[in-house]
Symmetry: D2
Subunit: 175 residues, 4 copies
């Protein structure tokens, strides 16, 4: 039995349409609706709805809160938790900033820590949201300890992951 | 055989997601993609992509252009056209303004003129776009000459149609 | 306010996938799930789940039961009902047989009686089910008294409607 | 750059609806339509449409053909191929039989060989097809050499995988 912790922070992946304003916004987490479309055998999911923000508006304090939530689940000391993997939903614009900081502050995590997001909101046709969530939940069960960006068929290990804006994807840069 | 003319002007119904800006916008008509999901027997469709605007930004000149396009298809004189009905995709915010103006300038149309739109973009889950387009195309084949707002299961005849913003629907007000 | 009665009898439109047998079957009505995807203003719906059958297996007694259900809602005498329209979900293979019988037994209905179905089950991609249900609910609000087959953008009045199997659609034959 | 080979054999995952018979059947591979819904970075896919069969009707010779197709891509000798992983779409009823045979005949594959399928056809609502394909393509990039069944969030390594029919899932039995 896998015990995954899913931390939601907002981002494009969770944006929904506000019919009165006519705009997309991060109002609350919709991860439960996404998960309802997946079949997951032998998996227990714990969901932590941490914040609901466009990642362009995330502050250092926000990232600090993410690090602390991750540490509680995946830090080197075995705490009162049996978590076997952590998945973080995050806006793609600053996903790499958060990934680097998690790795800096938790350099030896006990389990895999997966950051993911989407180029199109879950609620839109042709969205990559469910694909990326599917891959991330799967990855949290098969990858070794570390901090990763998972999307579009690939797992990229931090450090050195950056968003390549023109191609709407993540790449690994080697120093 | 029915000969319908479909005039697109933009509005929420046709808004698409721009992955680089992360926002919804009226870039171009997506009516052909919507129509590809319908099965229409004995129906010929002529599509006029007139403009692609949020209806809050429509000017008097824009509305004039819509009236002229409608008049060419549905005006009282039988022109070189065999159109049996007209459907106009329009933003809901000022749909009623355009409907009243069409009726004022073409008080005796030859065929039914249907205005429709959507509260959620076609490209979003739980959108009412395809429902409203389906109803409008059907209505153009069964209603008599006149100017109508068709959506959410109903046909409301102009004059006297207004958007009831709180309930996200159209109602008929009787003077 | 419209008061529609929706009578479900099964047919392809309501077939669902049985994961243990791997086949499609009429198990129970799924019309409530279909209706949940529509926005209907000023409409009260009464649902009668009459039977759940492939229309190739319908007996004369089944059709008799449909006629009686329709008569109770739409017969010439105003009974203890305020129904303003009736929609019947039906398999397309013998939809025309049932339509002719309803017209024969209720030649002067008080309200429109709409028969509809689908070529592909509601639960399949590219299904025409929701389109046909949308059109039928709309038609029940705008057509005059009579018995109709509504689908694929059109309303065909009985008598004289037949399924044109090769083209997967209904046509009107004139004697 | 990953070079994946996708071998299609049919099964529930690829069944489509035949409008004239009203039944589901394996007519041809629909894997290209499924893949069109995924975004895959740095991935080259080679598709081999080997057969289109309900796995209950697979013969020993069919399984032999699958083994030979896999051996050409993933056998121990590096042939004229740069394949880095193999994904096989297969009916779930006898997927485990084929998996055991592949492992017996290719005990030391060069790359990961993933078998997957679905409990509901891709073309039906609430299908697990796209989830399982997503997981399998991802798995082919991160798992080590071996033969696996991938679905519903998990990778199970052969030998010892069986379908637990009542729960509609695969489990690993330890001898």
């Amino acid at each position: 039995m896998r015990h995954l912790t899913l931390i939601t922070t907002g981002g494009t992946i969770e944006k929904t349409f506000d019919e009165s304003s006519g705009e997309l916004a991060n109002r609350r987490s919709i991860v439960r609706r996404m998960l309802a479309r997946l079949r997951l055998a032998d998996t227990k999911l714990r969901i932590i709805e941490l914040m609901s923000k466009d990642s362009l508006h995330m502050t250092d304090a926000d990232r600090g809160a993410i690090v602390e939530a991750v540490r509680a689940e995946a830090g080197p000391e075995r705490l009162a938790t049996e978590t076997t993997g952590v998945v973080i939903l995050h806006g793609t614009d600053t996903l790499a900033v958060t990934g680097e900081r998690i790795l800096r502050e938790i350099p030896a995590p006990r389990v895999p820590i997966i950051l993911t997001g989407a180029m199109r909101p879950y609620e839109m046709t042709r969205s990559d949201a469910l694909q990326n969530l599917t891959e991330s939940v799967f990855a949290a069960g098969v990858l070794g300890p570390g901090v990763y960006c998972v999307s579009h068929g690939r797992a990229l290990a931090f450090p050195g992951v950056v968003k390549e804006r023109d191609l709407a994807r993540f790449v690994k840069v080697t120093a």
